[in-house]
Symmetry: C2
Subunit: 291 residues, 2 copies
């Protein structure tokens, strides 16, 4: 089947980047952009990155061969509920959520027979939000992880794979729970830590806060970039990947307590050993060209 | 006084970058590079970034108008003890340590009358180490913080200021304890956190570790860069800025516990509010051109 019409629901950083790429690459005959928010719809119209723009979600999907839901994780179920009755028979639904188990639980119940749901997660983004922040190259050379359930058709997986490969991504099939654990470590915990440390600095007295901003280049700056990501998206990630995040957070806390104890006791050998061990992981990342 | 001869002790990233910049900028007639380690001396000779290279620290300082000690914080006292008896009357000593109170305690006792000590901290660096990693532009547009004690001559402060301004840096005078607290927040804590989180990942089972490396681009990658910094340097920072680091770490821990509790309870309002607050700091950093 050729993708004649693709509807993207949610025109933030990810949705708008995807629309741009599909248009530029001719990956579908028609791209329909849908968003609940009228201001966002207006911006998307001005940007001219879709063939049609609407805030009527129900209407937006009725001719779609594929629907990509690119809203915050906590809003996925509601969107699925609204659009489900209006989907064409044979339509493919996919999503872009950073959490997969909770999103599957939210969307799957609304997928009646003849609707093919392929959960997806393009592992790409920036600290910016909204349709103006998107760009067609966002997915180039990035991974897109699909976590299809066993009962979905191979053709639907192929179509979604083709879309993301068309966007320049490398596609990986992964188990749902495994995805949520791996991303809990590589993405969710780092974001939580960054938000926390920047929050700690934010509560300092005003004079020292201005010095912190001034001398941010010494390490802190990288955390502020991560911690300026979209609050709604990240709130939903933590509410919806609670189990994996809390598990990995507990391990992190134990390790941090050990570091703290070593500093307090003046245990230089422990610190030196720990600080040396982490270089191997960096080297591995550099070696696979992801640095 | 013109700086005829500058001796740099410790030819790592910072010392070797400084040597390069002084030579390129003609900031002194002669640059002498000294390092305890014969392999490092050999590399510096091959790189041809100094007028003379020696592992004899005592000998290296005898004609120096200024000596810059650029060794890890924990080795500062030992170096000062060795070179002190050999310094010319009127010589200026400065250093590049990331911690100031402990370094002053280590160096000051060896500064006899007629020797001018101006503690310094170029807030610049990369995750790489050693003389090959240095480059002349490292200090361009970066801050250099000086924490002179009240009894030092204004001329000595001026000379050290002129050196760092000659290297492209902006010089700031700061109180010793205030420096250690501000840098504890902007630099030491972020490094400790990054080392810890990468260490936590490092202890995962091998199969999941390879996935973590593969999908590192989603946030984790930034932490691995920070956590690949020189282990000796950072061990010494934490052993020597214990008080400030433990204080700010305690605040961070309290904030992280609150985040953890909010995730466990599903308190989305709390998370949303905290995640929104941190954007202001990022904006301030972007606004002053340090992003």
């Amino acid at each position: 089947m050729d993708m004649n019409t693709i509807t993207i629901i949610g025109m933030g950083l990810i949705g708008s980047s995807l629309a741009r790429r599909i248009k530029q690459g001719g990956l579908a005959d028609k791209v329909i952009a849908a968003d609940n928010n009228l201001d966002v719809c207006k911006k998307v119209e001005d940007l001219a990155i879709a063939d049609a723009v609407t805030n009527n979600l129900e209407e937006s999907v009725k001719d779609a061969d594929m629907v990509v839901i690119a809203v915050p994780v906590g809003a996925m179920g509601k969107v699925a509920q609204r659009i489900a009755p209006h989907l064409k028979k044979g339509a493919i639904i996919t999503d872009t959520g950073s959490v997969k188990a909770a999103v599957i639980d939210a969307i799957k119940p609304f997928c009646r027979s003849g609707i093919h749901f392929v959960p997806g997660h393009p592992v790409a983004g920036t600290e910016f939000s909204g349709p103006e922040a998107g760009f067609a190259e966002l997915f180039d050379g990035r991974w897109c992880i699909l976590t299809p359930l066993p009962d979905v058709s191979a053709r639907a997986i192929e179509e979604v794979t083709r879309l993301w490969e068309g966007c320049g991504s490398m596609v990986e099939i992964m188990d749902v729970k495994y995805h949520d654990l791996v991303l809990g470590i590589t993405s969710h915990l780092p974001h939580l830590i960054a938000y926390t440390i920047v929050g700690t600095a934010n509560e300092l007295e005003d004079d020292i806060k201005s010095e912190v901003i001034k001398f941010s280049a010494s390490g802190f700056r990288d955390f502020t970039r991560i911690a300026s990501s979209d609050p709604t998206m990240w709130r939903d990630v933590f509410l919806n990947n609670k189990e994996a995040v809390l598990e990995i957070l507990q391990r992190f806390n134990e390790d941090l307590t050990a570091m703290q104890r070593a500093i307090r006791k003046g245990d230089g050998d422990y610190l030196y050993r720990r600080f040396g061990e982490t270089r191997a992981i960096r080297k591995a990342i550099v070696d696979i060209g992801q640095a």
